[in-house]
């Protein structure tokens, strides 16, 4: 198969997600790849980062030697607190998600269905020790849940699927999927293309994913549309 396109690197993918985060948003970045998004927020965009262990206004990692192990993120790594930041207990922290106060959360995923079902907490492998953490609360609680992942597995199988085969984290909760090859919206009617890397057509993506992908509303305007901060919607996450 000829490759006439370049997949987004992890940093390019993080930058693509960051591009859609609006000024003033309160955002939770999931453990792992999503934390990279913080490094790519456009200048002039002020974002309040939430960490589920009880921090708003979380700052970057401290300088070496300045770590304080009372000040850690949900991934248990030392962080800092920005001016204006606040601490609170766990029930309040999860009320921020569950009560619909958080604007955006960005999560990794094993699979996402075309209608936005999310599977990201367990592969269901026999004998595996289960662990869920805050994944289920985040997925259904934020006003917008975005997923950031590679489109294909190592075995070139699509992680966007008709129906998740891995255990579900939440139903119809994902609004957008940012991948190394393209950005998609999950809608009640299935996938819609938001943008793709240069040289990769919608038809080629459909073959890769094995699902119908509705064209972007106005293909020529897709990148511009993608920049539109749909997160400004303040309605419920549904």
């Amino acid at each position: 198969m000829s490759m006439d396109y370049q997949p987004r690197t992890k940093d390019q993918l993080a930058a693509r997600v960051a591009q859609d985060i609006f000024d003033g948003a309160v955002v939770n970045l999931g453990i792992g790849q999503p934390t990279l998004v913080a490094n790519h927020l456009p200048t002039g965009v002020e974002v309040v980062l939430h960490s589920e262990n009880g921090i708003l206004g979380m700052g970057p990692a401290p300088a070496e030697g300045a770590e304080d192990y009372d000040l850690i993120n949900a991934g248990k790594q030392p962080v800092t607190l920005l001016a204006g930041g606040a601490f609170f207990h766990h029930a309040d922290s999860f009320a921020m998600m569950r009560g619909g106060h958080l604007d955006i959360c960005v999560l990794g995923a094993f699979q996402v269905s075309a209608t936005g079902d999310l599977a990201n907490w367990s592969t269901g492998a026999p004998g595996a020790i289960p662990a869920v953490g805050g994944a289920m609360d985040l997925a259904i609680g934020a006003k917008q849940t975005w997923v950031m992942m590679d489109l294909l597995t190592k075995h070139k199988e699509s992680k966007l699927v008709a129906q998740c085969s891995y255990p579900l984290t939440g139903l119809a909760c994902v609004k957008r999927v940012y991948t190394d090859l393209a950005t998609f919206a999950c809608t009640p009617h299935g996938l819609q293309l938001i943008d793709a890397v240069e040289g990769l057509s919608r038809e080629a993506l459909e073959r890769m994913v094995g699902l119908h992908i509705a064209p972007a509303i106005a293909p020529a305007l897709a990148p511009a549309l993608a920049n539109l901060p749909t997160a400004r919607e303040t309605g419920s996450h549904e």
Binding site: Y69, L71, Q77, F88, H89, H90, A131, E238
Partner: protein, 233 residues
């Protein structure tokens, strides 16, 4: 005169019964009441149900309690970690019952116990295997699962400073489960680094009012600076 200050961990822990449900605060390296967990191991109560976000790290603290065979069941959100080998071994051997609870449900079920809530409906986990066979209901267009409170016989938490009425303040992200666990147990024991005179804590800033606290024990600051944990990667 009210005096909740216990002279030692051993005295604060006395009388904990076999079969008790123990709420243990802490998340990662922050807010883990290691001295109280060690005290619980020495105290000797068995057949315990432990509620914590995790299921122990390394060989100390909660992991040591598990290793000592004192725990029958653990209720937590995230048992699997790089250094959770003690839990992993017991769980795989079928010697430890696990109730896996989404983290927000864990916090809210504990809070509900403290607030006298009979049960509540919540969308988290609907349609997933963690909803089990609990009752579901559609409320205002959202599918919700019935969740029951988690009551503790004892809560073991770590705070920063307290006074003889049991008022507590915390430090940074070490607050985590402390305030809700303090509410939810028959008996709450807190460690503090500083015991201060009544009136010294700013009443506007007290996080856990003393009504929720039964005993406070002063512990050395240095001993728990990094919680005895590995450094995060």
């Amino acid at each position: 005169m009210i005096n909740k200050i216990a002279p030692s961990v051993a005295e604060a822990m006395s009388g904990i019964q076999d079969g008790a449900t123990i709420l243990i605060g802490g998340f990662g390296t922050a807010g883990i009441p290691n001295e109280l967990i060690e005290g619980l191991i020495e105290q000797g109560a068995r057949d315990l149900t432990v509620v914590n976000n995790n299921a122990g790290n390394g060989d100390t603290g909660l992991a040591a309690l598990l290793k000592a065979g004192r725990v029958r069941k653990i209720i937590c959100s995230f048992p699997r970690q790089a250094d959770s080998q003690v839990f992993d071994g017991l769980y795989r051997a079928g010697q430890l019952e696990l109730e896996l609870v989404p983290q927000g449900n864990l916090a809210e079920r504990i809070r509900a116990a403290g607030a006298g809530i009979g049960a509540f409906f919540c969308p988290t986990g609907y349609g997933t295997e963690l909803a089990g066979d609990r009752e579901t209901r559609e409320i205002n267009g959202k599918h919700c699962v019935l969740e029951y409170p988690i009551h503790g016989d004892v809560a073991l938490i770590k705070a920063e400073a307290g006074d003889r009425w049991g008022n507590l303040v915390y430090r940074q992200a070490a607050r985590n489960f402390g305030p809700v666990m303090a509410m939810a147990a028959q008996r709450t024991i807190a460690t503090v680094h500083d015991i201060v005179a009544l009136g010294a804590l700013d009443p506007e800033a007290i996080v856990t009012p003393g009504i929720f606290v039964n005993k406070i024990v002063q512990i050395d600051r240095v001993a728990t600076q990094a919680g005895g944990f590995k450094k995060a990667a």
